[in-house]
């Protein structure tokens, strides 16, 4: 009775190569990182020579003031950036969702910022923010205003890197929002127009709700990216002044290369991974609830 039926095995056999590749390419590195986070490991040692310290790295991190500070800087940065980029990106998409001549050309120009290498973006903004020769302060001075200490004041520096990130990544949201808008069912919009909905009503009651699934995924992608942004900030401020712009990925990089504590760096990465994981799951659950609610309403409407 227990004889294996070769026919039933077939699908698993076909799946096997993919499963094996998944296990090695995806799970092995993550497992390695989790394992490393329990070690006192410096880069001059092979991993086998490192001492096992259990949860010490995590315990130290939770007590580490600098880590906590950089954690909150990251949260502030990520949420500010994603919120502002979503508003500006979707707003631009709504404005430009019409037949303008040369639209494809315009779109290409719009997405240029995100095609530039991050190091270059960092350098560019660093020089634009330069206290004396930078264009912002030159302009402010020529208009008779006080120059702003863009990168040398800890209150301004976070704002400065947020501005640079918005400049670079709003186009990403813009392009996805525009694509979503253009694929909306024209019939719904037409019906709304016939029923006399104003422009604002169309946006808030029809366009945005229909775009929601795309927007959620877009926001999620940006959020994950914003938590991991490194190069631009590295070049612009290297985390300073103080710790005011030291986001987590920068702290992880410094922990690994400057402090030479690979175990601690791995523990930090795991915490970041955990945080992003919770955010992702949360977002999908929210999305699911919304969909179920919509389905219920539709069902009620159909029954009535």
């Amino acid at each position: 009775m227990l004889r294996i039926n070769p026919n039933r095995m077939t699908p698993y056999m076909f799946l096997a190569p993919a499963a094996i590749i998944m296990a090695f390419a995806l799970l092995y590195p993550i497992g390695y990182m989790v394992y490393a986070s329990f070690l006192d490991w410096n880069p001059s040692q092979r991993i086998g020579e490192a001492d096992w310290v259990g949860l010490r790295n995590y315990a130290n991190l939770l007590q580490d003031e600098s880590f906590r500070e950089s954690f909150f800087v990251t949260i502030k940065f990520a949420f500010a950036v994603v919120t502002l980029e979503m508003i500006i990106g979707v707003g631009l998409a709504l404005l430009l969702d019409r037949n303008i001549r040369g639209m494809s050309m315009l779109r290409t120009i719009f997405i240029l910022p995100m095609m530039i290498a991050p190091i270059v973006v960092g350098l560019m903004w660093r020089y634009m923010y330069h206290p004396t020769v930078g264009i912002f302060n030159q302009t402010l001075k020529s208009w008779g205003f006080e120059p702003i200490p863009w990168l040398s004041d800890s209150n301004w520096s976070l704002i400065s890197i947020i501005i640079a990130d918005i400049w670079q990544w709003t186009p990403f949201i813009f392009i996805l929002a525009l694509a979503a808008l253009q694929s909306l069912p024209r019939s719904a919009l037409e019906a709304a127009r016939i029923d006399g909905a104003t422009g604002w009503q169309q946006i808030f009651y029809i366009k945005i709700p229909l775009m929601m699934p795309v927007l959620i995924v877009t926001a999620l992608l940006r959020l994950i990216d914003a938590f991991k942004v490194l190069e631009v900030i590295l070049v612009m401020t290297n985390g300073g002044p103080g710790l005011s712009t030291e986001i987590m990925s920068l702290r992880i990089a410094r922990t690994a290369s400057e402090f030479r504590e690979l175990g601690v760096a791995a523990a930090m990465s795991n915490l970041l991974l955990l945080l992003l994981f919770v955010l992702t799951v949360g977002m999908f659950i929210y999305n699911k609830i919304q969909e179920n609610r919509a389905a219920r309403i539709r069902k009620v409407a159909e029954e009535a």
Binding site: S152, P241, R260
Partner: protein, 442 residues
């Protein structure tokens, strides 16, 4: 017939001559070998690249150089050194890597090479090499573990080392009849006086950017003002009176510095001086080579040099690079010959003439070198006070350094109280030291 004998005789004589020359040539066994070395992209090593063909010509040993940005270099080396068979026969290391590499047992002890009569050159004259540099960069295992002392031994040779030096604008000093500062009171006084005398010009350009740069600038003042990071028992004393004084000095210098000084790194601080936006510069000697390069500098011919001003004592920084032979190198003997040749009197002079940083007293006093680079003599004088212990070279220093730099950046940009900031550093440092085992014997 006689002619034929004559020819035979001369050729025999010539042959025997070449044979005896070959016997006297210690490089002969390695002729035709190729050494792979790892050097940083750095003004000194750029000068070395110009001199290296001379080595190949003289010895027949070829050298292949892998030049990397110096922070990248450290990462690459960390990987290289853990391999069982390394690619590099000789490598240049940043001074603070000494602690990590020696502790992980990755560098060859040089004693057995200097003991080997076939390799060691009797005319090497090691006492001519600047003491502070050897102590700081080459020796480990003595006092405090990272300094020379009865138990210390040699793992590398200083090569491309540097100390701190004061550069000043001769024209500005003459115009206002100012005296070149010799001590810290005069220095700090001048730093804030110059912006008043020359509106728009900063006093002294210093680095101040969060992290390594702020920490470095602070340490420059800490040693001359009588401070240290640790006492002799590894207790952090950075927050004592001298520490507070050094931080006050840094704050004063940055406040009276050029616009934007609070986020300057080494490059920006140097650029401000080269652009004529400050009247003084106090940092590494490696900078001196650029001052008279008209493509980078607007102050060609206007800069004078003086020793790092004294506080309660004299103490200029020691830093830069050394060269060492990795434990996993493939051709260690030939690598030693290259190391010895590069740090010999002859090569040191050639490299100095090509624009590098010499490591020998004799080169600093050499007439030809001084004619080309008149500041060399001042540098040589200043080097007598090079302080090998101006910062601790221990494996956990990277972490303490970053914390110190962050705290100081907060002092400079957020007006955090100096004492409070340094107390915080001392407290966190103590914890780091506890964890690293420095208090095991207490």
């Amino acid at each position: 017939m006689i002619n034929a004998i004559k020819i035979a005789a001369t050729s025999v004589a010539a042959l025997s001559l070449t044979a005896s020359v070959a016997l006297a040539n210690p490089y002969a066994p390695y002729k035709g070998d190729t050494l792979v070395v790892n050097f940083p992209a750095h003004p000194h090593y750029n000068a070395v690249m110009k001199v290296l063909p001379e080595f190949t010509k003289e010895t027949g040993i070829k050298v292949e150089v892998d030049q990397l940005q110096y922070l990248k270099m450290r990462e690459k080396q960390t990987l290289e050194l853990t391999k069982s068979k390394g690619d590099y026969d000789l490598l240049a290391y940043v001074v603070f890597s000494k602690a990590d590499y020696v502790y992980a047992d990755q560098l060859e002890n040089l004693a057995r090479y200097f003991m080997n009569p076939k390799l060691s050159d009797p005319s090497y004259d090691a006492s001519d090499i600047i003491d502070g540099y050897i102590g700081n960069i080459g020796v480990a295992g003595g006092e405090k573990g990272y300094l020379p002392g009865p138990t210390g031994s040699l793992y590398g040779m200083p090569f491309g080392s540097e100390t701190s030096i004061l550069g000043y604008r001769k024209d500005i000093f003459e115009k206002h009849n100012l005296k070149v500062p010799e001590n810290y009171d005069e220095l700090l006084d001048l730093a804030c006086k110059i912006p008043q005398l020359e509106p728009g010009m900063g006093g002294l350009s210093s680095r101040a950017a969060s992290g390594h740069h702020a920490s470095h600038a602070f340490l420059l003042h800490l040693a001359p003002l009588g401070g240290r990071i640790f006492d002799d028992e590894w207790n952090p004393i950075v927050n004592n009176e001298a520490g507070v004084k050094a931080a006050q000095a840094l704050k004063k210098i940055v406040d009276c510095g050029p616009e934007g000084a609070r986020t300057f790194g080494f490059a920006e601080a140097g650029a401000a001086f080269l652009q004529g936006r400050t009247a003084m510069f106090l940092d590494s000697t490696v900078f001196a080579g650029q001052v008279n390069d008209a493509s980078k500098s607007k102050v060609v011919g206007k800069v004078g040099w003086a020793a790092h001003p004294a506080g309660t004592r004299r103490g200029s920084q020691t830093g830069g690079f050394g060269i060492a032979i990795p434990k996993n190198a493939q051709n260690k003997e030939a690598a030693f010959l290259l190391l010895q040749w590069l740090t010999s009197k002859k090569a040191d002079r050639l490299i100095a003439l090509a624009g590098g940083n010499p490591s020998r007293y004799s080169t600093h006093n050499d007439a030809e070198v001084n004619e080309k680079y008149p500041h060399m003599k001042v540098f040589g004088e200043a080097l007598k006070y090079a302080d090998p212990d101006w910062r601790p070279i221990i494996p956990v220093w990277g972490k303490i350094n970053a914390d110190l730099g962050t705290a100081l950046s907060k002092v400079l940009t957020e007006d955090l109280d100096i004492k409070e900031a340094l107390d915080g550093v001392a407290e966190r440092t103590k914890k780091i030291m506890d964890q690293a085992g420095y208090n095991t014997w207490k």
